[in-house]
Amino acid sequence: MTIQQISVFLENRAGQLAEITAILSEHQVNMRAIHIAETSDYGVLRMIVDRPQRAASLLLEHGFVLSMTPVLAVTVPDEPGALGKILTLLARENIDVEYVYSVFGQVQDRACMIFRVADIDRLAALLQDNGMPPAHHQELGIQDEQK
C-alpha cells in the first residue's frame, strides 16, 4: 500500500536540481511528483518516480545523499472540497501531517495527493475504514522493479 518516496539532500546552489533531472532523463526515469522544502542554506527534494530503485542507485552513484521514505498516495475527486474532507478526518483523529503534496496530472480521472505522516499504517487503516483506500503503486505508474 505504501509508496517509496526518494528524498534527496540539495545544497542551495544553482544547477543542483538540473543535475538530478538530467541524470533521471538520461536513464528514462519519469517523475510522477516532486516537492522541495528549503531553508536559506539547503533543501530537501522529495519525489515519486516510476522506477524508484533505479533512480536511487543512479543518484547514489552520482554522490547524492538520499533516503527512501514510505508515503501514502490518496486519490480524491478532482473537485473543490475533496482534499478538505481528508484533512478534516485527519484532524479529528489527531493525525499530524508532516507534509503533503500533489502528483502531476490525474490518476484515473482523480486528483492524487502524497501524504507523509509518522504512523503510516494507522493512516492507511483510517482511510480504508472511511472508504478512501490509498492508491497502489501501479495506479501511479510505478513499476515493479527487480531488487
Binding site: 518516496q5 545544497e11 531553508t39 542554506d41 539547503y42 530537501v44
Partner: protein
C-alpha cells in the same frame, strides 16, 4: 610629553639591558636545572649543563619549548616553585585539549602588572585617568593583567569585563573613562554602537585605547581612532609568558617594545630552528628570565614577525617587534580565541558527520565571523527539514562548547568541499589584516 612607568628600565642603555639579560638568563637556567626535572632532562639530552650557558650568546644552545611540551607537562611538570609559593593560575583561551595552565608567584604577578603599567603609561595614562578594562576577567589574562597595570599606574579602574555593551557605554560616558582596554574587535563594536547612538568623538571622553589579543589592521586602527576620537595602541602577550604586556606600543606606533628586562626575544626559521639575523621575518621565540613559578626557555610562540632595533622617538631603548603577520602552525585566532582546525574535526566526528569540512573565517564590520562547511552524510540526512535543522543545531552547540565561540554551520553536498592534491583545504581566511 612621553610618560614612563619605569624610565630607568624603559630607557636604559643597550649595554645595561644586555647586562641584565646575561645575568638573569644564567640564573634562570640554573633555576630550571635545579627545580624542573622536565627541563633538566631536555638539557641532558642535548649534553648541556648550566655551565654551558654563560651569557645571552649561549642561548641558542638550549632546546626549544613548544606547546606540546606544555601539554605533556600539564599541569605541574614545568613548575619551578613549590605550590605554596604560587598565588594564581591563568589559562589560555578555552580550547579543550590545548589548554595551558600558567602559575604565578606574587613576584610574577608584580612583574606582569609592571609590564602592563608600562603599556598604560606609554599610551599616556596617569593617576588622573579613568581606565575601563573591558577585556574578559577570569582565566583569560586580558582582564587581570590590565586591571593590575591600571592599579599600579593609579588610574581609577573600572573592571567592566567584556560584554553588556550598553553598560560599557554608560560607564564610559557617566564616569568619564579616558582609557579603554579590550580586544580591537570589541573596540570596533563599541565604536560602531556609539556612532549609531549619534555620539560624536567630542561627546566621548576616551582619549586612548589599549587593544590586543588578536590581529588587527592599520585600517581598523584608523577607523577606531576616528570614531572614538582616541589614539589606539597595540599590546601583545601570551598566557604562557605572563599575559598582555610582553610588548606594547608607544606613541610612535611603529612596532611594540618588548620588555627585554623580563623577556629575551629571538627570531628563528620555523622549519630549521636556526636563529635568524635581526630584521629577518621568522618565528618569534621568547625566554622569560625573571619568572619564578613558570619560567619558559626558548618558547616557540608560532607567531611570525620581525624584530628591529632602532632609535625610537619615544626614548625607549627596548627592541621592537612588528605585529604578528601570521602563524607557523594551523592555529587560527578568531575573536581573540585560539582555534585549531583539529578541534572542529573532533566535534564533527563526535556528531557522526564525516571529517570533511572547511572553515571560512571573515571579518564583517570589524568583527570576526566563522562559518564551518560540513558535508552531508546519509546518517545525518532526513526527509524532514526539522530533523536536519535539529542536527545542525546540535553541531553548532557542540562547536560552541568546544571552541567557546559561535560558528555558523552550513550543510553542503557530499564531496563538494574542494580538495587540492588529495588533501582538503581546511581553512579559508578572508580577513584582510
Amino acid at each position: 610629553m612621553e610618560r614612563y612607568y619605569q624610565k630607568d628600565i624603559e630607557c636604559a642603555s643597550r649595554e645595561q639591558i644586555r647586562a641584565w639579560q646575561d645575568e638573569r638568563l644564567v640564573r634562570q637556567v640554573r633555576n630550571v636545572w635545579d627545580n624542573v626535572p622536565y627541563y633538566r632532562k631536555k638539557m641532558e639530552e642535548k649534553g648541556l649543563t648550566p655551565d654551558d650557558v654563560r651569557n645571552v650568546d649561549d642561548l641558542s644552545k638550549l632546546p626549544f619549548v613548544t606547546k606540546d611540551d606544555l601539554r605533556q607537562a600539564y599541569p605541574y611538570g614545568l613548575l619551578a616553585r613549590p605550590l605554596k609559593d604560587c598565588v594564581r593560575i591563568q589559562s589560555t583561551s578555552g580550547t579543550t585539549g590545548k589548554r595551558v595552565v600558567a602559575f604565578y608567584t606574587q613576584h610574577d604577578i608584580d612583574l606582569w602588572e609592571d609590564c602592563c603599567a608600562r603599556a598604560i603609561m606609554a599610551a599616556g595614562g596617569t593617576n588622573e585617568d579613568v581606565c575601563q578594562v573591558s577585556y574578559g576577567y577570569g582565566l583569560f589574562t586580558g582582564g587581570p593583567g590590565l586591571n593590575g597595570g591600571s592599579h599600579k599606574v593609579g588610574c581609577l579602574t573600572i573592571p567592566t569585563s567584556s560584554g553588556n555593551t550598553e553598560r560599557q557605554i554608560m560607564f564610559i560616558r557617566d564616569l568619564n573613562a579616558t582609557i579603554l582596554c579590550c580586544t580591537p574587535s570589541y573596540a570596533a563594536y563599541l565604536a560602531e554602537s556609539m556612532k549609531e547612538m549619534g555620539l560624536t568623538p567630542d561627546q566621548i571622553p576616551l582619549k586612548a585605547g589599549i587593544f590586543g589579543a588578536e590581529a588587527w589592521s592599520q585600517e581598523m586602527r584608523r577607523d577606531i581612532e576616528k570614531t572614538l576620537g582616541i589614539k589606539a595602541y597595540d599590546i601583545y602577550g601570551l598566557t604562557e609568558l605572563s599575559g598582555p604586556g610582553v610588548s606594547y606600543e608607544c606613541s610612535a606606533q611603529t612596532g611594540m617594545h618588548i620588555n627585554e628586562d623580563h623577556f629575551i626575544a629571538e627570531i628563528i626559521d620555523p622549519n630549521t630552528g636556526e636563529v635568524l639575523p635581526e630584521g629577518s621575518k621568522g618565528e618569534l621565540v621568547f625566554t622569560s628570565i625573571t619568572k619564578e613559578a613558570f619560567p619558559l626557555l626558548r618558547y616557540r610562540t608560532r607567531d611570525i614577525c620581525v624584530l628591529h632595533h632602532e632609535d625610537c622617538p619615544c626614548g625607549r631603548t627596548h627592541i621592537k617587534m612588528s605585529k604578528p603577520m601570521g602563524r607557523s602552525d594551523d592555529m587560527l585566532i578568531i575573536k581573540g580565541v585560539n582555534v585549531f582546525p583539529s578541534q572542529i574535526e573532533t566535534v564533527l566526528m563526535g556528531q557522526s558527520f564525516a571529517p570533511n569540512y572547511q572553515i571560512i573565517v571573515d571579518r564583517v564590520n570589524n568583527t570576526d565571523t566563522m562559518e564551518v562547511l560540513v558535508e552531508m552524510t546519509p546518517e545525518m540526512f532526513s526527509d524532514q527539514l526539522s530533523q536536519v535543522a535539529e542536527k545542525e543545531k546540535q553541531v553548532v552547540a557542540a562547536l560552541k562548547a568546544m571552541l567557546g565561540i559561535y560558528a555558523k554551520v552550513r550543510l553542503v553536498a557530499p564531496k563538494s568541499i574542494q580538495r587540492s592534491e588529495g588533501k582538503a583545504v581546511r581553512v579559508i581566511d578572508k580577513r584582510k589584516i
